[in-house]
Structure formats: structure tokens, C-alpha cells
């Protein structure tokens, strides 16, 4: 196995009592002394600081970058205004999903944030598709921190007052103590908050300054997962893969009108034929929320049945666990489209027992974004 990469903030994580685990080639804090449950609830009540420096930060530079990216991603990139960010998907020729990513339009570039486990794949994928004038630059000297929760704005505004003027999915480049921070008002928790790209040399100073504030606590990957599950957000490699299409994954909202059938720039991305057809006709199966009726969590891989006595499963749980904010287990998974209607009975097989559940609309936790 390849050597695990250490984060710029590794020593700080240890000092904060983190339990470190290998994740996507990095040594990552899965939880701190408080534990997943308390960390999760703290983010919903105040503000949490996450180190997500394992994620890939990539710049696309040069004329024609937006046009080129539209050949890989079925989102409206040309129509993305400067200072704005958008969620997008790299699609496969099969119509499956190769990764999900954030795309920000800035004065000098398009700035992408991609999943840690897909970083190398995505960069190669981008380089293969970019023609002459467009450059793909991997950012290797910056950490990425996320500050999430209802008190995130108050906390960050003490250092960077300008963040109060950002709305959900706005991005800005702004100075702090002589360096440039790249800030977006977005995240992966269903809370208001920010993602902050910071030069590694000052990342620890920024993290310590934020952590010294009463509202802010360090939060590990464990709570990041339960927070995004409650927020109904898919996790690449689990809820979305090369086997799932954007329409099946209930991510059709990330394909703007201009790229759909009859739009000015219809299609022109990998898998367009299948994806545009599914947008018109509907998919055979769909990602939905699942609420187990009992207290037993239904984890990833749990087969789903239409009736307690059926032999053949109709679907599978792709993410599931305990939802601290709801005080009950929640899950998401794929079921045949007619069964995705909310409140449809479904059975999950857990340790040989068929346990009742119901489909439910996502998200489980309504987001508190500043729009």
C-alpha cells in the first residue's frame, strides 16, 4: 500500500485529540475527543471547523476553459457568472457518474473542488479533454477548511468582514494577514457556512484563530458523513457511481435547461443520449430517502424488498446510519421509480431479518442556507 499523506494540520489534529484513520490515501481525523454525536450537534447549533484538505483543488486557465468543461460536465458553465459557484458532475459515456464537483467562476480561472479519491482520475480526465489553450493546474500548496453551522458567519466575519455580503454559492478571493483566502459560501452539511482555501503556510494559524472562538469546535469525518446524510447529499463511490446516472441519482437539478433537450447547448457531454432520454421519460429507479421504522440502522449494502416475504430485492441502501439531529436511523438508497414516492413501505434485510421502513423525501434535515 502506498504511504498515507499527512495533512498540513496533522499535528494540530493530534493535539486536539483526533482519532486518525486512513481515508482516500490520507491520514484523516475521523473524530475528536467530543465524539461524532456531540460534534454533529455542535455543527447544527453553532459552528464546526473541518479539515478537508484531502480534496482536490484544480484551476482551469485560459480562453475556452468553460466551453471545454461543458464537454465533460452537463451543467451550464458558460452561463455561470463571475463570483458564483455551481454543483456539477463528470459523466461517463455510459451515462454514469465519474465524480461530483464544485465549479467556481473567478476572474482569472474556473476553480474546481473534486473528491479526494477521484483527484488523480479527474485531473487526467480534464487534461485529456482540454485543448491547446486551456491549462489544468493542480493546486498543491493550499489547505481546504470548511466552517459550517449557523454561527459560521459570525465567526468568520471577525477575520474577514466581507463574508457577510456573500450569499449561498458565492465565491470570493480576499486578503487575510497578508495572504489570499479563496472563500465560497457552501458546504456539505446542510448548514450555512464556508469553504476556505488557504495557503498551507498559514493554515494552522487560521485554524487556531477560528478554534479559539467560543462558537467553533473541530469536527471530524464521522460527523461530516452523518451531517451530509441528514442533508440528503450523495457521497461519491457510495450513493453515486459509474453505475448510477444523474437522473437516477435525483441530481437532474444540476443539469440546467440550456443543456437539456431543446436548449441552446443541448447535450454535448458524455452519456448525453441516455441522460437526456431519462430527463424526458424518467429513470427506472431513483435515489430516495429511507426511514427505518425501528431503531436499527440500515447501513450501506442493505438489500431492500417491496414486501417482507419477497425473494428478490428491488433495491439497495447506499448510505445509512444514525441521524443525531433526528434521534433516529436514516438512510438513502435506490428503489424502482414508482416506489420512490414518499411514504411507500419497503423492507430492509438486516442480519437476516426483514425490518420495515418507508421511503421519504430528501433531505431529512432542511438546509439553512443564506440565499
Amino acid at each position: 500500500m502506498a504511504e498515507l499523506e499527512r495533512l498540513a494540520l496533522h499535528d494540530l489534529h493530534l493535539e486536539l485529540g483526533a482519532r486518525m484513520v486512513p481515508f482516500a490515501g490520507h491520514e484523516m481525523p475521523v473524530q475528536y475527543a467530543a465524539g461524532v454525536m456531540k460534534e454533529h450537534l455542535h455543527v447544527r447549533a453553532a459552528a464546526g471547523l473541518f479539515d478537508v484538505s484531502h480534496m482536490g483543488q484544480v484551476r482551469l486557465l485560459g480562453a475556452g476553459a468553460a466551453e471545454a468543461l461543458e464537454r465533460l460536465v452537463p451543467a451550464d458553465i458558460l452561463g455561470l457568472r463571475e463570483g458564483r459557484q455551481r454543483y456539477g458532475l463528470f459523466t461517463a459515456a455510459s451515462g454514469g457518474i465519474l465524480d461530483d464537483l464544485m465549479i467556481a467562476r473567478r476572474p482569472e480561472d474556473l476553480f474546481l473542488v473534486v473528491n479526494a479519491a477521484r483527484k488523480e482520475h479527474d485531473v487526467a480526465h480534464l487534461r485529456a479533454a482540454m485543448s491547446g489553450h486551456v491549462r489544468v493546474e493542480v493546486v498543491t500548496d493550499r489547505a481546504l477548511l470548511a466552517l459550517q453551522g449557523p454561527a459560521a458567519e459570525t465567526a468568520l466575519a471577525r477575520l474577514v468582514p466581507a463574508v457577510t455580503s456573500l450569499r449561498f454559492m458565492d465565491v470570493t478571493q480576499t486578503g487575510w494577514e497578508g495572504v489570499e483566502l479563496w472563500i465560497s459560501r457552501s458546504g456539505y452539511t446542510g448548514e450555512d457556512g464556508f469553504e476556505i482555501s488557504v495557503p498551507e503556510a498559514v493554515a494552522e494559524r487560521l485554524a487556531r484563530t477560528l478554534l479559539s472562538m467560543d462558537e467553533v469546535a473541530p469536527i471530524g469525518l464521522g460527523a461530516r458523513d452523518s451531517l451530509r446524510l441528514e442533508a440528503g447529499m450523495p457521497l461519491y463511490g457510495h450513493d453515486i457511481t459509474e453505475e448510477t446516472s444523474p437522473v437516477e441519482a435525483d441530481l437532474a437539478w444540476s443539469i440546467q435547461k440550456v443543456r437539456r433537450k431543446g436548449g441552446a447547448r443541448e447535450g454535448g457531454f458524455p452519456g448525453a443520449e441516455r441522460i437526456l432520454r431519462e430527463l424526458e421519460e424518467g429513470p427506472k429507479r431513483r435515489r430516495t430517502g429511507i426511514l427505518p421504522e425501528g431503531r436499527a440502522p440500515m447501513r450501506e449494502g442493505t438489500p431492500l424488498f417491496a414486501a417482507a416475504e419477497d425473494e428478490t430485492p428491488v433495491g439497495t441502501i447506499t448510505s445509512g446510519g444514525f441521524a443525531p439531529s433526528l434521534g433516529r436511523p436514516v438512510a438513502m438508497g435506490y428503489v424502482p421509480t414508482p416506489m420512490a414516492a414518499p411514504d411507500t413501505p419497503v423492507y430492509g434485510e438486516v442480519r437476516g431479518k426483514r425490518l420495515p421502513a418507508r421511503t421519504a423525501q430528501l433531505p431529512f434535515h432542511k438546509p439553512n442556507y443564506k440565499r
Binding site: 473524530q31 461524532v36 454525536m37 464521522g222 431503531r295 440502522p297 444514525f322 443525531p324 442480519r351
Partner: protein, 120 residues
């Protein structure tokens, strides 16, 4: 009190039955416990059988029968309040009580000092 390498504690009661729970160390490692699947009372078990499952926020872990015997009582209170295992693992957070086929088998398990050395 005796301890297993699976981080269970075994306490012989006055009536000769053995109460089983998990150690403080195990409860800390598991983190916040949110669900416990308990065995049936009257169930006959063999050493190493998976008799209970503990679900923490992060993952599920098995509890193995430490010895051969029969489950005579389970701690039903854990169904409604699984967090009791985190709060009081050696007391209110017990899992089940067993009638053991061979009481001398308990002598094979670790003493408190041995367990402390085991977990380092």
C-alpha cells in the same frame, strides 16, 4: 470480574449465573452507541457465537458469547436507552446474563490487571 480479548467483562453472580457487558475501553472505542440487538432469553449459545450487535454512530460490532451456555436474562432497558452502555458500561449498561455450562471455564479469562496490560 474477568475480561475477554473481545473487551467483554464477565461477573459471576451469587446464583452462579454470569453477567456479560463490555468494558469502558470498548465503549470509548465504539463511540456513541445508538442501537443494540440483544439475544433472546432462553437461547442456547456456544462460545464464539454472535449473540448481540452494537451499533454506534459509525459502525456495527458483534458481541460474542464468551462461553457455552444459555441466555437467562437480557437487559431490555438498553433497547430504549442504548447510550447507557456509554454512560455506565460496567453497571446499568450490562447486556445479558448467562447460565454457563462449565463455570471453571471463566478461570481462562484475564483478570483486571491482565486486561489493563492487554489494552496497554
Amino acid at each position: 470480574m474477568r475480561y475477554t480479548e473481545e473487551h467483554e467483562w464477565l461477573r459471576t453472580e451469587e446464583d452462579g449465573t454470569v453477567t456479560v457487558g463490555i468494558t469502558k475501553h470498548a465503549a470509548e472505542q465504539l463511540g456513541d452507541i445508538v442501537f443494540i440487538d440483544l439475544p433472546e432469553e432462553g437461547q442456547t449459545v456456544a462460545k464464539g457465537d454472535e449473540v448481540a450487535v452494537i451499533e454506534s454512530v459509525k459502525a456495527a460490532s458483534d458481541i460474542l458469547a464468551p462461553v457455552d451456555g444459555e441466555i437467562v436474562e437480557v437487559n431490555e432497558a438498553l433497547s430504549d436507552n442504548p447510550a447507557m452502555v456509554n454512560e455506565d458500561p460496567l453497571g446499568e449498561g450490562w447486556f445479558f446474563r448467562m447460565r454457563v455450562d462449565d463455570p471453571t471455564a471463566l478461570a481462562d479469562f484475564m483478570t483486571e490487571d491482565e486486561y489493563k496490560a492487554f489494552i496497554g
